[in-house]
Structure formats: structure tokens, C-alpha cells
Subunit: 626 residues, 2 copies
Amino acid sequence: MIDCGRYPAKRTVGDELTVGADIFRDGHDVLRAVSRYRPPDSRTWREVEMRRVDAHLDGDRWEGTFAVDRTGRWSWTIEAWTDAFATWRGELERKIEAGQSDLSGELSEGIVLLEAAAQRAKKGARHRLIVAAARTLADPKKRDEVKREAALDTRLLEAVEHDPDRSDATALEQPLVVDVDRERARFGSWYELFPRSWGGLNGVAREIPELAELGFDVLYLPPVHPIGHTNRKGANNTLVAAKNDPGSPWAIGDETGGHTALHPQLGSMEDFDALVALANEHGVEIALDFAIQCSADHPWLTEHPEWFNRRPDGTLKYAENPPKKYQDIYNVNFDSEDWRALWDALLEVVLYWASHGVTIFRVDNPHTKPLPFWEWLIAEVNKQYPDVLFLAEAFTRAAMMRQLAKVGFNQSYTYFTWKSSKYELTEYVTELATSGMQDYYRPNFFVNTPDILTEELQHGGPPKFASRLVLGATLSPTYGIYSGFENFERVPVRAGSEEYVDSEKYEIKLRALDGPLLALVSRMNAIRRDNPALQHLDNIRFLETENDALIAYAKRHGDNTILSVVTLDPVNAQEGIVIVPFELGLPPVFEVSDLLSGETFDWRMGRNYVRLDPYRVAHLLRVTTT
Amino acid sequence: MIDCGRYPAKRTVGDELTVGADIFRDGHDVLRAVSRYRPPDSRTWREVEMRRVDAHLDGDRWEGTFAVDRTGRWSWTIEAWTDAFATWRGELERKIEAGQSDLSGELSEGIVLLEAAAQRAKKGARHRLIVAAARTLADPKKRDEVKREAALDTRLLEAVEHDPDRSDATALEQPLVVDVDRERARFGSWYELFPRSWGGLNGVAREIPELAELGFDVLYLPPVHPIGHTNRKGANNTLVAAKNDPGSPWAIGDETGGHTALHPQLGSMEDFDALVALANEHGVEIALDFAIQCSADHPWLTEHPEWFNRRPDGTLKYAENPPKKYQDIYNVNFDSEDWRALWDALLEVVLYWASHGVTIFRVDNPHTKPLPFWEWLIAEVNKQYPDVLFLAEAFTRAAMMRQLAKVGFNQSYTYFTWKSSKYELTEYVTELATSGMQDYYRPNFFVNTPDILTEELQHGGPPKFASRLVLGATLSPTYGIYSGFENFERVPVRAGSEEYVDSEKYEIKLRALDGPLLALVSRMNAIRRDNPALQHLDNIRFLETENDALIAYAKRHGDNTILSVVTLDPVNAQEGIVIVPFELGLPPVFEVSDLLSGETFDWRMGRNYVRLDPYRVAHLLRVTTT
């Protein structure tokens, strides 16, 4: 239940959903309960039996599990009732055990219950069994037999309970809902590139086979629209652009078009459609940036001046977060009196690109736009394109990041880039995986972005890049890298900044898929595809290593168990002990295969020696003992 | 928020209520928020400013605190809005700091904001200040001055924010409620006795001055009604009563009357009224048992046969929980078609005794009656007698015990009697005090009851009685003892049973207030009254002792701090170290006065040596350094 049911929980196709409740009533009667659930667009409720799962702890927690096997909004509720026959039978059993001799009153109750059960069963074998039992109970000569056998017959119990009396059933006041997305919402490997550095859309198309071969599922493109020339940013974010400076792709729109236009140097819409088609053939999806701001030259500024913030003195306000200034872009004004037309226009933008095969939108800075707008937009888009996913690029305080996920974003950027120590990583991933967030917030662990070159990467060199790659790819089911990571690009624009020097945001680079880290990237993507354990988040369990420079965690899904051990030290070799706890359910001694090196080792419950160094930053151990 | 607001939270008069919420919006604007609250029977909402309490943790948690100074149902909500002027002023400040020279656009915005503020202020000093500031901003010659001074004037900020623009304010969807009870709901010392063992109501009245002197606040009487003779239980719960056996007071009713009658041997209603009046004069309240079951001879069985369970063969069902049998009582049937009349009759019983001055009802086995009945009954009684309190005598699984508190019971029996080890006590009290239960579940720590003579007491002898008394009286703001405890009565009816031998439930005893433990009881009650810290539960903090036989905990309220150290070992002396943590906020070295022995000691933050033995089972240390 997310915020008392105000927001849907999230699952992906093929998941099982376990729902639970404290179920109890006054007195000592036997209870029964079912989870009732309804698939999307279905009128029929199905149900599955619930069980009391903490009877050993003297608790009243009941749970039921069902599979959600298609996308859309599922409803569920819980129904519980008193099982009068099981109550009667249980009391009778205890009385017989306690040696009570006169059971005539009890048997008279049993007859009434059996007669009602016979009526419910109508006819058939169960009906005959119940009628016979009722007659036996009514026959004074057979009562001794009844006491020992008939009334306590398990077949009879099953026959009666097959069609129980649910006349006192009670249910949740309102059904709750779960949004079930396709698998890519949970699991996927992302690559981000600026098309202008790869020869435009056709150049990107030429890389598609190789990106697919490397194991990427999603190719994410920053905005592909015309770029404004007023106040265009120059190289390294300078305020005055040189003549050939291309400007930031996020300064969207010029006289030739806005959010539904393509930058002419990238190619035509035919090229775009061809890129999408080719990518899909290779199993790669295209994710497009959705950034709402406009350059000063965007057609909307003249067509809809009322959509933009103006000062009382008539000047237009460019985007800013003082002392930061974004002189090349203007934010739309969601407080505009014409907000409804603005919302519709933004919806049209998303629908336009969805109609051209874009299946994922990476939304720029959603936290600076109203939450009700996102809740509406995502729902509207999904009415026409139920498989379209939205990724929230919000790096802000936790409450807003969580709220964006609650209102509908299928995935979210995270603080992963800034979690470097073992303590920070363990605490953060544990929060994502176990605090309740796992039911609505799906992380996308980008290891870098065009805006984020962390200090760790700047100073850690290639071993740190490898370590962060393995961490991102194994901690989170979805991770991504921004082009250049595989080349160990790590020079900041200045000391203390997380911006790249000569950032691709303001310049055209010549890029190629030739980075030395691609071998490990490819290996990681293949391992992730082969091992379902790595495709989930809430199955993680951190393991003690007795060394703060070594982090270890286990993930298990079905019979697939992966033990990951990663060094956080890019300079020195580190030794430690990985403690495999009883709770993982592994045999006392088991064999593991290192999916990175191909070696096999004998591991055991308890303490296992490990050693990692800058040339070997991780063990990814698959348990091969069955 | 208890169960998404379905049930009220609880407080007592004089408490402060702190309410909180995550408050945030899109973008970077400055927010303000208030807690709005409405006392019982008031139409006016008051409000108190909320503050962001976890800014240092980069959080969005806001809290506001207000005092609840009278009993009844309070409502509260939260209202938050965007502070446009503070946002403008903050941005201006950052721009000036960053050296931005052209601020004309910004100043034009400020003028509009100030003009609106001036209109809200209407007239007076604040109005004049705002108007002057607006003029300064509008005067091109004074703009340099503005940049440095006027616009950032703190008095101006205060003047504008005194009457803020709350036009975009948002509030909780529904106000939430808090039931505020009188102090006795939280804090009190109880004594339980069977009037028939004290010479009836007049005999009990003779003990009132002494009970008051001992420091008891509540005198709890088991049922005082006529007792059935059909299937009357004999001494030690035997099935056949001897001629003079008085029967169990819980087998309520005979031909002379039922729940609104007095047992003739106890006295008359005039005696009852006199007892209540005398007790009240001495500051003692009378708590009466409310047990719904009836003996076979209760008038209701003939007047309302439809209120009782009958088997299909016509036999009446006595109360049972197989293999346990209660042959002398019959439960009413809440599933009766005439349930509405039954509910009304039960309400009349409670109202009858409330009209005779009973201010607390100790409800027998509420967990075997429907929860909606209790929710209704308690609300109905409180409409006429808002100060009447209800104590739930439910010893069942946790979910039901919590639910009874949620539906309205002001106090609840607990598992305290069976929590004997340091681990168990710490875990249990921590749950009661910090898991959220503290907002609706108020424990009453009886150290024994007529049904519960724990194994610990049976075997521990007088030191164990003393230790349990100190634990009950210091861990919980409300505690109680059942007559005989002060005499160290500890012989069970048989080995392995928690029933007393020759239990007062089935026999008349000759009782007097002469037990050797009364000196300590009296001392404890006095200490509890003198020390506000012991009158609360959620202020507890357990302390490390480095010895599992010694339990220590601190409670602080205002400037009253009590450190309790209690031995759990009734046989051997125990030594340990009480570690006083930094978080208690005590000086590095401080003086404590032992409220039991009168000694003073120098204690310190960190490690303090303690030694307790069977002759000195506890330190109750009041910090006297100011």
C-alpha cells in the first residue's frame, strides 16, 4: 500500500505479487482468507488462498501470492470469513481428545452445518459424501463411530470447504492497485550518446549492430531538436558561442521548429524512423530525452507568449537557480492561465515521438515541474501507448525523488554516482531494496552522465571505472553508461567540478565504439542476461567481508545464485573474508564459477578467503552446486 | 496517523502534540507551513508555525508542536504554501552576492510583491514600512541602496510575512483526530481487591484512607453482582460447589438481579454510593469490572432467551474454549437477530454504574466480543460521561490487543507479567514505547492478577516480588497489584499452573492491609507522584549494564531525570556497570540521590559501578545536579 493506497504499487510482467494483512476476529473461530485479484481490462475476479505465515511467532499475518502475467493496472483485495465447519470440527476434536462423552449437542450442530454444506454442493460426489456424513451424525447408533472417525474425516472436511459458507465475509474497504510494466522497466542495460558526435542519425544507425552485440538494451539520445542561437553557449559553457559552436541540445528550438522537429544536421524523420526500425530489429529500444525548456528562438515563444514567465517590466525570465544561470533556455510557466493548452501541447510532443517508435522517455529535471502534470501526462500517454516508459532525471532531495516515482515514473535516476564507500553503498542499496521503496521506485544506476564525472572517477583511474561498472551492473537491475566512460574519460573542466572538460554538451566530438573497457562492458551485459538473480533488486543481501575496501553481496532468483565481491580500492590489493550466512540456503560446501575469469572455487557456508587488486576488481561467482 | 487516519491517536491533557509531514513542491521556491488544530467543541482553528527539522540531513520533514490542554477529540491538519516574497528575496540576495549588476527585472518583481503585501497589511506601521520599501524599489536613484540594504531588510521581511499570501495553500485531504484523555488514562497506581474478603462495601470503605495513604489512585473491584447458583464453581475451581461456597463473581446474575444489581452480601446501593464518595474524597477512583457473561440464573436468560447461544437440539451452550470449560457462565450471542437490543442493554449497564460514580471500567475478555461493539459502546458512554475510561483485559495475540486500543480502549493489559529476562523486558517495553504503539496503546503493568501467579513469583520469593514491583512501577506510567502480592502469596494450585491455590475467585478470604511489602509499595507510589519522568512511557531509554541480571533505564521529563537500575536475580548479588550515554544530555559529572535509600552518589557520563542484591533490589536515582 503506497501512501494509504493513493498511488499504485509497481511490478513487472512475470513477477509474483505477495499481498498480506493482519487477519483476526473476536473469539477463537477458525478463519479463512483469499486474495482476490483482477487483471487489467477484465471483469472477472480470481482468487488465491491466503495462509497465516507467522503462526510460529503467535502472529496474525496472512499472505497470498499470485502471478501478474500481463501489463496494465491490476486490482486486488483481500476477503476473509469465519469457517464455521472447521471451527466446529476443531472443537469436536479437542473435546474427543479430552474424553468428553456426551457430544449430542455438538453433533446436532454438525448436522445443521453439514445440511447447509450439502445444499451448497448441490450434487455430485462431494454432495453424496456430505449427505452421508450428516445421516451418520443423525443416527444415534452410529454416534460412537462418528466420534472416532466420520466427523473428523479429512475427505469430509475438504468436501465441505470446497464450497465454503462465506456469508460473513469481509473485504478491504477499497481494492488496491498495482501497475504491471513490461520487463524493461525493471531490467535493462543503457548506453547514452550524442548523435551529433557519431555522424548524425545515420551514423548512429551504423553502430546499432555493435551496440546490440555489446548487450545494450536501450540507446538513450539527448534532445535531437533544433538548437537556439540566441545566447547560445560556447565550448565549456562559456556565455558567448563561437561561430561554429553547436550549442547545447537542451536549448531546444529555433525558427525551423521546436520539440517535434529534428535538428537538420542530424538527419530527417525518415532517418529517425529507419534508426528506430533497425534498433528494434536488433532488440534495442530508443530512449529520447523529454526536456520541456525552450530556447529564445523556439516557435512557442511567439505562438504562445503566455506560456512563459515574464517580469512585470516585460522582460522574459530565463531559467536560473541563483547563482546558476541558464541564459540559453526559458522555462514554461505552469502557472499560466493557459496551462491547459500548455499541458496538451506537451502531451502532443510525447505522443508524436511515441508514434515514431520512441518507447522510453528520459525526462529532464521533472522535479521542477508540477507533480499533477506528470501524473496526468504519464497516464494519458499510457492510454495510447501502454508500453511507453518514463525515466525521471531528478537529482534532488529524497522526498521529491520518491514522489515522482509514486506519481508514475517507471524508473528513476539515483544517488548511486555519489555513493562510494562500502557503508554508503550498503546503506543506500538496502534502502532502495527493502524500505518499501522497492514497491514503487526502480533505480537506474548510471555510472556517469554528461553532467556527472565524479571525483572518484577523476582520481581512481581505470580500476575505479571497472569497479564502478561492476557495481552498477550487479547492484541494480538497470544501469547505464554515458559514452566516453569506456575510454576512461576523466578530466574535469576544473578542479572540484563534476563537469567534463570540453564537454560534449557544448561541442561535437568524434566518437567511436573502441574504448578499452568495452570488453568488460560486453561481459557484464552477457552475465546480466544469463543470470536472473542480477535482474532483480529486492533479492539482495549484503555479506560481511571484514574489510571496508571489499564489498560483497548475494542475489538469488529461483535456482540462480550470484555472489558478487568488488574491490573499492583502485590502488592496492585487498584481502578479506566473505561470510556466507546460513540464511542464503546454500549447502555447507558448494562450488562456484567465476563468471569473469572462468575459474571455479570451492566455497562454504561461513568464511571464504578473497583477494582482489586493481587488475582484478571483482569476483562474480555463480553457485554451480545444485 | 493510526491506520491511515481510520482511528484517532491518543494523548492526555497537558501533553504536547508534535505533528509532521514531508513538505515539498516542484522547483526551488521557499515554502512555509503551519499545523492547524481545533480543540473539542470549538469552531475556531488555531495554528502554529512548522519548521523543517531535518535540513541538516537534506530532508523535507517539517514539524509543528502544540499543547492539548483539555479532554475530548481534537482535530488537526497541515497547511503549506509558497512564500513568494521570501523566494524573491533569497534569489535577490544570491544574485547580489554573485555580483550581478543589472537587477531591474528582479526589482520590478519585488515592487509587485510589495504592493500586494501592502494591500494585505491594510494600514499601520507594517503597511507604512512596506509601502516605503516599494517606493524605494521604484526609484531609479535609490536602486543601489536597495541592492545593499532595503530589499534585504529583516524588518521588511517580517512585515511582509506577518500576513503572507497563502493563495496557493494546500492542506491534508482530511483533518486527523486525536483523543485527549484525562491524566489518569496515562498515569495511575491501581489496587485490586475482592470486596467480599474485606467485609463487603462498608469494609472496603474502612480501608480507603489507608489505600489513599499508600498512594493508590484507583481501586479496582471484580464484579459486585449476584452470583449464579447453577453449576456454581467450588473451591479451587471444582465442578461441584459445597453448600457455603460463594461462587465466582464472574458468574453474574441470579433470580434477584443481573448486571445492575449488587450482591446482597456486599451491601446496598447506598453503601456503594458511600464508598464511591469516600474514595473520591481521598482522591481514589473506583474501577468496576464489566464482564458480559451471565450465569444460568441471570434474569436475561428468561427475559431475552434470544440473546444466548442455543444448539439446534435446544440446549444452551455454556462458555468454552475446548478443552477449557466455563460451565457456570453463558456468553451472549452477538450474532443474535436482536443484537441491537442486546447492545442497548449492555450500554445501559455501563451507564448505570457510571451514574453511580464509576469512572473506570475494566472490561473482561473484550477480545471475544465484536470490535464494532466496543467502538460504539465506548463512544456512546463518553458522550454522556466524557471522563469515563476503559481498560481492556485482553490476553491474546498482539494484533487483537492493538486493535482493541485502536477502537477506543484507553488502557490495556499487557504481556508484562511474562517478560522476565532483561532481553524480553527491553524488547517489549521498547516496542510499547517507540514502535508507534505509544500513540494509541497505553499499558497497565499489573504485577499479578487473580488469574496470573507467574512462575517467577512462585519461585523467586520476596526479592522477586520487590523487583517486579519496582519494574512495573517504573517501566510503565500505570501499574497495578492484586491484593495478596504485598503478602508474597505465591503457592499455585498445582505445579505448572499460574492459578493461586485456594484462589479468592472461588472462596472468601480474610484480608487486611498488613503485607510486609506495603512499605515499598507506598514508597514507590510516592516516588511516582513526585517524579514526572516516571509518569510517561515514550521517554524511556535502556542503558547498557554489562550484566544480564541487571536492567537499567533512564526516563526524563523536563528537568526531572530518573535512572533506574533493577536486579532480576532474587538469589545472588550482582555487580555491573551502568553506561550513561551522551544523548541523555547530562553533565560530564553529576550527583544522584537514591530515592529508595536516601543516599547520594557521584555519577558520570560513561561507566558507573553498581551492585545490587536480594536485600536491595534497585537503585532509583534522581539526578540532582542542575
